[in-house]
Subunit: 349 residues, 2 copies
């Protein structure tokens, strides 16, 4: 086989704080490189062809000055973006991975990649997907990937849910929130869900939420009071919504603190109900999904893909095609104009 | 015996929200009533003489409009205040309680009380104190009573302490904080403690705290940073101190939310570090001691009084004499001008 194109999406410039990234400036498409898949040296590793890449909200936080510390490493100017991906193995010298395998892990935004760094080859970093259920590979980036794990792990660890209790889920149309809604319904809870558009609200209702509302056109506090309060709060947003949840929560309520996107690009909000943490005996649990993998990842892959295959858990996707689309795909997730879990299809197989 | 005075401290008026109670206005002393201890009908109950009454921070929250719900019942205008007490039984018609017993439970602020309501006579409400250790009865209101239980129960339930970790304890000279300091030292932790006067700081140091400082003359944030941060925060105060603790806490830190006295008499404070709950994976546990009794109360009475008797756990008291002093005693605890566990001695025995 002759050398073929090996296109990439490059992180080109750090965007200004609180500004949206700009396709063509923050990120650029580059097709100047080539690779010969038949002859490229593997050095004990393996060569993959990238099939699908995940586009997630937290990528914005990685577009920062590398001197700033945070829980996810920064992107480096001049290098490809990287994120969760599913790829097909073309050739392998690695004992645990063989040609034809499909692997899940972090990949650069690039059509072909040789993975030969021993530190990257552990099974915690790359997982061979069996996919007995025959799901689309992209499902392993959303409901069957990191966002689904976030929902599954933390729901099982922190919700202490009992049938008949009420949970309030924010950002409920996103891949995390939508999975939480369905896990909660499967356990017999009443689900109140909020999202940012009427279309998203309709999707959340189709998942079985008992009450779903557009938080931009409804008062969250009034909605929660009307429904008689809550026992569990799944927080993706923080700020005034967290305050409303604190005010509407029953004694011994559990707050699963998954994210506070309302606070990422604005001034702090003055929470008025913090005292209730004591007097109503609330428990707040902040977490990063990686910390829960040891306890839950095996169970996740045992349970969730088959629930998706059987239709018990539903999901939606919003697909972009080709690495040329990376910049626009990232911006759409930041602006919330995507209509489902954003994935970028690089190759059909 | 002829009728004798039966003085009371009455809840006289609800103080304005965010204002301190005022002796003589919020509470008044009343000595107009009498009782004949020899002849007063017991109706199947028992007559006690009040020895010591506890004055606690949470009494402020009970001075509210009774239509406002909270974890502790309100005081009612025109009726005596009430709180934890130790009393001596003078006469009894109750099968489980005999004259000469000392009982621990909730009593009105009154010199003599007939307890005949069957709902008040369960052993959960009144506990006969054996006091094999011969401790002063007032100890059963502090380190061996509700405040000690608060420290003991919640430390065991929520701290997940490991030797070598660092805990920051606020209001560390109070009966809860001082007990936490000593439990933490006994488990091999580094203890940072704050209190509101140099005298209190000296007391906390004498308990074994590794670092103790006066929060009025030192910057809490700078102190916590200088000491390399914290793994556990025992919160008695909330507000800016909670914010500093959030900022200085390591990943997976535990926040034991026992009280937020800074918020009881003032406007809400704007917490700036709430986002860190997610990104540093904090756990915040609010609690009321009553909720932990089933799990820990037996163990508490097995362990703590003998640790106090042996000197392994130390405590201090600040005694007020007579029901006339109730109003001032309550205010001193709200302002933190008391110099030890505040108790009111009504009778020597």
């Amino acid at each position: 086989m002759a050398p073929v194109r090996n296109a990439r999406a490059i992180f080109n410039a750090i965007p200004a704080p609180n500004a949206f990234p700009e396709p063509g400036k923050t990120t650029v498409y580059d097709d100047s490189q080539t690779i010969d898949p038949d002859t490229v040296p593997l050095n004990g590793g393996f060569l993959v062809k990238t099939l699908v890449l995940s586009i997630d909200p937290f990528m914005r936080g990685r577009m920062r000055d590398p001197s700033i510390k945070s829980y996810a490493p920064p992107f480096f100017v001049g290098q490809p973006l990287n994120n969760y991906a599913v790829a097909r193995v073309l050739r392998s010298e690695h004992p645990a991975i063989k040609a034809g395998d499909h692997v899940y892990g972090h990949l650069p935004f690039q059509e072909y990649v040789v993975l030969s760094d021993p530190a990257e080859l552990g099974r915690d970093i790359f997982r061979v997907l069996e996919n007995k259920e025959g799901l689309p590979w992209s499902a392993y980036l959303g409901v069957c990937g990191m966002p689904g794990q976030t929902a599954h792990h933390a729901w099982n660890e922190y919700s202490h849910a009992k049938p008949g209790e009420t949970v309030f889920v924010t950002a409920a149309a996103g891949p995390v929130g939508a999975t939480v809604v369905q896990l909660a319904k499967a356990e017999g809870l009443k689900v109140i869900a909020s999202a940012g558009s009427d279309e998203k609200v309709a999707f959340v209702k189709s998942l079985g939420a008992d009450v779903a509302f557009n938080y931009k056109t409804n008062d969250t506090k009034a909605m929660l009071e009307r429904e008689g309060g809550i026992d569990i709060y799944w927080d993706n947003v923080g700020g005034p919504t967290l305050d409303a949840a604190l005010g509407a929560a029953h004694r011994h309520a559990r707050f699963i603190e998954c994210g506070m996107i309302s606070a990422y690009n604005s001034e702090p909000y003055m929470l008025k109900n913090v005292q209730l943490i004591v007097t109503r005996e609330f428990k707040l649990s902040g977490f990063i999904v990686l910390s829960l993998h040891n306890k839950y990842l095996g169970r996740f892959y045992d349970e969730i893909p088959q629930m998706v295959a059987s239709g018990q858990i539903k999901y939606t996707e919003d697909r972009s095609l080709g690495l040329e689309a990376a910049g626009e795909a990232i911006v759409s997730v930041q602006k919330g104009t995507n209509t489902g879990k954003k994935v970028m299809v690089v190759s059909d197989d």
